[in-house]
Symmetry: C2
Subunit: 157 residues, 2 copies
């Protein structure tokens, strides 16, 4: 079950490495573009950590289709196709990205708990690093969204 | 954009009302069964609140396929089909449910922020009630998972 979830996330993170450059490209706010570019680097690190975890259980790294992330990304792509005001689009892109982040926060939270039951502190530590980075990425998006919303409200005001 | 997201969640919550009874049925731990049953009641309230929100914007309540939740639920159904130890299955069911909760936490967080920009405090308040219930449901699952894991570890130990 643990390895199945690792395979699921190995697929999810690889899907994200393809989605993040599109999100960066379609974002207007420079701060948002930069956030996606920096999270792409982190995502690559998360993939490497999952590969380390496969190794720690003497398993070959392989993916299992992550239907949850597939749905979330497909929903995000629909947003990218929409023709709307740049700031509304940026707000919608942030919303889509936060769904992906929260999916990962839930999944890595589970993997951390399971690593603990398996008595694998080494694995737990690796999962913890990734979990903290996902949480920080989500908080960063929260910050960008507030600033964007404050600007939008002052324009409207 | 706000109404589109409300339609998305209107679909997501309806999918959940169909999925929750299956999760309750397949759970072994009584505490977990009870948690899903009580969350079903809350989910019905969330649907009513979304209908109120449609009304507040003079819109007809209608759904828009929520691909994210569809993927998460389909992933959860695959778990229900697996034949494994009851406690492992319960742990996997909790993991699947927490992905759904986190998806909703991200989505309602976005709706709350957007209601604020639109200057609709009445809507913001309704979204806030639901958001708090989703967060509490996630924390409750965290608690059940820890107790389940502690028992599993003591059996193993």
């Amino acid at each position: 079950m643990f390895i199945e979830e690792v395979r699921d996330m190995y697929d999810a993170e690889q899907r994200l490495t393809k989605a993040l450059p599109k999100l960066a490209e379609e974002s207007t706010t420079p701060e948002l573009k930069a956030a996606f570019e920096s999270h792409l680097g982190e995502t690559e690190t998360h993939i490497t950590r999952l590969e380390q975890i496969f190794g720690m259980f003497d398993r070959k790294a392989q993916t299992d289709t992550c239907k949850g992330m597939k749905g979330i990304i497909s929903e995000g792509e629909d947003i990218l196709d929409e023709d709307t005001d740049p700031w509304i689009k940026d707000a919608a892109i942030i919303a889509a990205a936060q769904k992906a982040e929260h999916y990962e926060i839930a999944a890595y939270g589970t993997l951390r708990a399971w690593a603990r039951i398996l008595g694998r502190q080494d694995v737990e530590q690796l999962v913890e690093f990734t979990l903290e980075e996902e949480k920080k990425a989500d908080e960063k998006l929260n910050g960008i969204a507030s600033r964007l919303n404050a600007r939008a409200a002052s324009v409207r005001g």
